[in-house]
Amino acid sequence: MDSRLLADLAADLDAAFERLVLAHQDRLYTIALRLLGDPRDAEEVAQDALVRAYRALATYDADRILELRLRPWLATIAINLCRNRGRRRTPILASLEVLNGADPTAERRPLAAAAIEPSPGPLETALRRESAAHWAGLVLRLPERYRVPIVLRHVDGLSYDEMAQALGRPEGTLKAQVHRGLSLLRSEHERASNADHLPAIEPAQEMTA
C-alpha cells in the first residue's frame, strides 16, 4: 500500500501528500494519544508530525523517498515530538477520572478494523467490562521504556523489524521490553480489578528518555 504512495510522493509531493495524511493520521493520533493521554496534545503532535514529514519530503530527492518506510519513519517523528513535549511540561498527576474510566477520549469511536473481537466464554465478559479508558490509563502509567514499545507493537501494530528502525534498538531488546510491559499491564490490571478501593494515585510517567 505504502509503496504505491511512496512512488506518487516521489513523483509529485503536493499531489500525493493528502493521501499520506489520510492513510496515517489515525495511527499517528493514536500513538500520540496513548503516549501522552491528552487529546489536544495528541492532535497537535499528530499535525506537527505530518507537517514535519511534508517539509522533510520536500527536501528529499525521489530515490530517498522511494527508500523510506513510512510507518516506522512517521512513528519516529511523532514519538520524538511526544518526548519533547514531555520534557517541557511539569508532571501531571493521573486524574481520578482516568482511574475511574471516565477518559475524555472515551467517546472517540474505535477503529473498526482494530476493534476488539471478543472471544467467547468468561473472558469475553471480562474484556467487555474493562473499558478502553481503563487500559489507556494503565498504559499511561507504564514507564516510558515499556510504554513506547507496547504502543508501537500492540496499539499501532508495527512489526519488530519496523520498531527496531523506528526506535533504533535491537529487536531482542524490544521483544523483552514488550514482554515485560505486557506482564506489568496484566498485573496492574489484576491489582485494579481486585482492589476494593481505588489504587493509590501515582504520577503518570512523563516522556523523558
Binding site: D14, Y29, E43, V51, R109, P110, A114, A126, V155, D156
Partner: protein, 270 residues
C-alpha cells in the same frame, strides 16, 4: 471493579491494547493541509473598507478580497490559486493583529505572504509597494524605477491590479503618474480614496495639485524637494513651500532630492 475477575492471559491484554486504536479528530487532516500550504483557510475580517475575506495557510496570507459572499469568494479564490479553500470561524488572532498593525502604519511587523505561482516581476512590484509609508502615495513610475525597470510603468499597473493581498500590500498608495488617484482593485476608485483619507491624506487636495501640474514640493530652508505626500514635504510651512513642475526645475533651482521619498524615481522614464 470490586468482584474478583478471571485472570487474563497475555493474549487478552494484547487484544485490549489493540482496542486502543482510535480515529483522528475530523479537524486534523484539513488543519494539516492548511499548515503545509496545500489548502487555504479563510474568514471575514473587519477593515477600513468594511468586512473583507482573508485567506491564509502555513506559508502566509494568500488573499484579501472584498467579495460579496462566501461562495463568490471561494469560487474566485479556487480559480486564482488552484487550492481547496475552507471557511473557518475567524482569522487567527496573531494574524489579525499583524494585519491591523500593518494597516495602522507599522511597517516593522512581519506578515508572511504566500505568493507561490506569481512572477518575479510581480513580487518585486509588491515588495516595493510594501515600503510606501502609510498616508503617502507614489506614482506607478516610481515603483518601476525603484525596481530597476523604469520603462515597465504599464506592467507595474497591471501587477498592482493583480495584487492578491490588497490592504496588506498597500497598492492603494500607488497613484497615476499624472498624480490622479486612479484605479483600485479592491472594489474600485471610491474605496481607494476612502482608505487614503483614512490614512490622513486628502485625495482632493492631492488631485488639485496634480491638475495644477505640480509634481514636487520643495523647502526654501532645507533646499530639499519631495513628492507632495512625503511626510517631509507635509511638514513644510506654507511660507517656505516651493512648488515645482519637474525634477529638472527643482534641480535647476538648486534643490536636491529627498533621500526618503526619492522623487527622482518618480518620472525616471520620462
Amino acid at each position: 471493579m470490586t468482584a474478583r475477575s478471571t485472570p487474563l492471559a497475555i493474549a487478552d491484554v494484547e487484544a485490549a491494547l489493540a482496542g486502543l486504536a482510535v480515529e483522528a479528530p475530523p479537524t486534523l487532516a484539513p488543519a494539516t493541509l492548511v499548515a503545509v500550504g496545500l489548502a487555504d483557510a479563510y474568514a471575514p475580517l473587519d477593515s477600513p473598507l468594511g468586512p473583507v475575506f482573508v485567506a491564509w495557510n502555513g506559508r502566509g496570507i494568500s488573499a484579501v478580497d472584498a467579495a460579496g459572499d462566501r461562495s463568490e469568494f471561494e469560487a474566485r479564490h479556487r480559480r486564482s490559486v488552484g487550492r481547496p479553500v475552507r471557511a473557518v470561524a475567524e482569522v487567527e488572532p496573531q494574524l489579525a493583529r499583524a494585519i491591523a498593525r500593518r494597516l495602522a502604519g507599522d511597517r516593522r511587523v512581519a506578515i508572511d505572504l504566500d505568493l507561490r505561482g506569481r512572477s518575479e516581476f510581480e513580487r518585486a512590484v509588491w515588495s516595493k509597494t510594501l515600503e510606501i509609508p502609510r498616508g503617502e502615495v507614489r506614482p506607478y513610475g516610481w515603483i518601476a524605477a525603484e525596481i530597476g525597470r523604469p520603462r515597465a510603468v504599464r506592467a507595474v499597473g497591471t501587477a498592482l491590479a493583480h495584487n492578491p493581498v490588497p490592504l496588506v500590500v498597500p497598492c492603494h498608495r500607488v497613484v497615476r503618474s499624472d498624480g490622479m488617484i486612479g484605479q483600485y482593485s479592491l472594489g474600485g476608485p471610491g474605496n481607494k480614496r476612502t482608505i487614503l483619507a483614512a490614512e490622513g491624506l486628502d485625495p482632493a487636495e492631492l488631485e488639485e495639485l496634480a491638475r495644477a501640474g505640480i509634481r514636487y514640493i520643495g523647502s526654501d530652508t532645507t533646499r530639499i524637494y519631495c513628492l507632495p505626500s512625503c511626510h517631509n514635504a507635509r511638514r513644510i510651512t506654507d511660507r517656505h513651500r516651493v512648488p515645482f513642475r519637474s525634477a529638472a526645475a527643482s534641480e535647476a533651482a538648486g534643490f536636491r532630492a529627498c533621500m526618503e521619498c526619492r522623487p527622482g524615481s518618480a518620472y525616471a522614464a520620462a
